[in-house]
């Protein structure tokens, strides 16, 4: 399923957080959003999973405007792994993951056999099956991130948006998560901080600065020393990955 941001703008309290952002995520593509802190990446994502109404512009799935769908219907198509993980109540891991089925259920019916299998499969994929009965509040940050992704997968979406999914994860789980994203066959829009991971995981990368999309294209085209210097104010050398050929950045600490 194709995801399209069309002239998206978000203004809150007179501040432009996102300005005229247009970005196309082709069906089955993994597109990364990178940019400095406060450049509007998360705000753009929030419009996609409908936590925020854009001030102007639209989000479209397969050409259909998201705002014409019910919240429930769009949640059947788009799942999100968000940043607000702060839960006050001590749900168990399997309870949190089961809530991923919410948009597909009516009332408070319990999960059926197929849905239970789905949950177990997701937990196995994310290496958290052994945590199923644990309280969510007892988990480490990285374990909790994996639970949130499992919940998003259980939602059986066509489109997945993720806000810094590799936060708190150790290297092994960062790599596993991103390869899982690549192999999931979903349309993925992901905010990443680590440019090297973005280069390795994404088909295309969009660079945001002060709410504006200033460049987009393949990692090789986008991640140049000039752009990194312009957007992040950091000097970096770009070398091809010895095995995959993806561009990788080497930073130098002196300014």
């Amino acid at each position: 399923m194709n995801l399209e941001l069309d002239g998206l703008s978000v203004v809150t309290d007179g501040k432009s957080l996102v300005r005229d952002l247009s970005l196309d995520v082709g069906s089955g593509q993994v597109v990364g959003l990178v940019g400095p802190n406060g450049s509007g990446k998360s705000t753009a994502l929030r419009c996609v999973y409908r936590a925020l109404k854009p001030s102007s512009g639209t989000v479209k799935v397969d050409g259909q405007e998201l705002s014409s769908l019910t919240m429930r219907r769009s949640a059947q198509l788009i799942a999100a792994m968000t940043q607000d993980g702060a839960v006050d109540l001590d749900f168990t891991v399997e309870e949190v993951i089961a809530l991923g089925r919410t948009p597909h259920q009516r009332g408070s019916t319990p999960l059926n056999g197929h849905e239970r299998d789905l949950c177990e499969h997701a937990m196995r994929r994310l290496d958290i099956l052994h945590l199923a009965r644990r309280g969510i509040l007892t988990l480490s940050g990285g374990e909790r991130q994996r639970v949130l992704l499992a919940r998003a997968l259980v939602q059986e979406p066509k489109i997945l948006v993720l806000d810094e999914p590799t936060n708190h994860l150790d290297v092994r789980h960062q790599v596993r998560l991103l390869s899982l994203l690549r192999g999931a066959g979903l349309t993925v829009l992901v905010v990443l901080h680590d440019l090297n991971l973005a280069a390795a995981a994404c088909d295309r990368i969009g660079v945001l600065s002060e709410g504006r999309l200033i460049n987009s294209g393949t990692p090789k085209d986008v991640l140049t020393p000039e752009l990194v210097d312009e957007v992040f104010g950091v000097r970096a050398s770009v070398v091809p990955h010895p095995l995959t050929g993806d561009p990788q950045l080497l930073y130098s600490l002196d300014s």
Binding site: T70, I78, L89, T102
Partner: protein, 368 residues
């Protein structure tokens, strides 16, 4: 790109000692509810029998049966029958209803403002309801609603209070849990002050006891006439909240998550807030505002059945009802013939329970 590594996670291990043991199964839940219901029936019969004139449970049951089935009572038993049926029964039933309602409302509020410290009392909803009820009692008004005027006043007061607290504590549409509790506590004290002022300026000789009644709560005014409204409000409230189990689960995960799962946080929060205000208002109108039940009961219940709201909302009302029946019994028998305000007893029981809860390691209370 290498495929994901094969899963190497072990199968689910048995719960270890550090994990709280919870009753996860459906049959477990049914068993808990059934035993609580049995406990409630026994408590109600015992509590109706106890008081200045003690009536043994078997006798009490006989009188109650006589009243329900229209049976015969001998002439010398009429006084006892009157005490049992006209005074104590409505009072004990009211206690059970209010206990159930307060617990359910506490569960709902904690989920929808995402704060484990919230209950109608802490958030000022109860005090707002008191202001409404006192305003109507003292100054009249809302006469079109007849005998329901006080309840309507209390509901309006509760609604205004929850909107005020909600509005004052949310900035840019985001709701900060800490700000909410602070605003609630402040507003709560403010509403109590307003209520006291109204009472002291009213031409009444019983101002002090009236203030005490509205701030600490009492079932002393219970009568058969006031029961149906409370029963309807509490029953409807509990049933609707129970149906809202899953949205409450989702809301407790945060607004962003709720939106991504297709639950509009604003819409659900607003309608739940109105429902909660309605139930709280009706309860406050007949019993004053009673602290700690709505705060402590949800936590106690979650420790046993976990956080899932459909389960919590099945158990909490029953547990709250049993608890309140005993609280009321203590309040009217401990220093008889005088009565202790309910709030005194709920606080004496609630505070130690609350602190013990927070210190328990296995129970995660509002994060770490």
């Amino acid at each position: 790109m290498s495929p994901p590594a094969p899963p190497e996670a072990p199968q689910r291990p048995a719960p270890t000692a550090e994990e709280p043991v919870r009753t996860g199964s459906r049959t477990g839940l049914v068993a808990i509810c059934a035993s609580l219901f049995a406990a409630l029936v026994v408590s109600v019969v015992v509590a109706i029998g106890l008081g200045p004139a003690v009536v043994p449970p078997a006798e009490t049951a006989r009188f109650l049966w006589a009243a329900l089935s229209g049976g015969q009572i001998s002439a010398d038993e009429v006084t006892t029958y009157q005490i049992i049926w006209q005074i104590r029964t409505p009072r004990v039933l009211l206690a059970a209803l209010v206990g159930a309602g307060l617990s359910a409302v506490g569960v709902a509020i904690q989920a929808l403002v995402r704060n484990a410290l919230a209950d109608p009392f802490v958030l000022g909803v109860s005090s707002g309801a008191s202001v409404g009820a006192v305003g109507v009692t003292v100054m009249g008004g809302l006469a079109v609603f007849g005998i329901y005027a006080v309840s309507v006043g209390a509901f309006l007061g509760a609604l205004v209070a929850s909107l005020l607290v909600y509005g004052a504590s949310s900035t840019k549409g985001a709701l900060s849990p800490l700000r909410l509790v602070l605003t609630g506590v402040a507003m709560s004290l403010g509403f109590q002050a307003v209520m006291s002022v109204i009472i002291y300026f009213a031409p009444s000789s019983e101002a002090t006891s009236m203030v005490l009644y509205w701030t600490m709560g009492s079932f002393g005014a219970a009568s058969w006439g006031s029961l149906p409204v409370v029963a309807a409000a509490v029953l409807v409230g509990v049933l609707v909240l129970h149906r809202y189990g899953r949205p409450l689960d989702v809301l407790a995960l945060g607004d962003e998550t709720a939106a991504s799962l297709g639950i509009s946080p604003d819409r659900h929060r607003k309608s739940l807030l109105v429902l909660v205000s309605l139930v709280t208002g009706v309860m406050v109108a007949v019993s004053g505002s009673i602290a700690f039940v709505g705060l402590v009961m949800p936590h106690l219940v979650r420790m046993v059945v976990g956080a899932t709201h459909a389960r919590v909302l099945a158990v909490a009302p029953l547990a709250g009802a049993v608890f309140m029946v005993w609280v009321d019994l203590v309040s009217r028998t401990l220093v008889a013939p005088r009565e202790l305000p309910l709030g005194v007893i709920t606080a004496l029981v609630g505070v130690p329970v609350f602190i013990t809860l927070m210190r328990r390691k296995s129970y995660m209370f509002g994060g770490r």
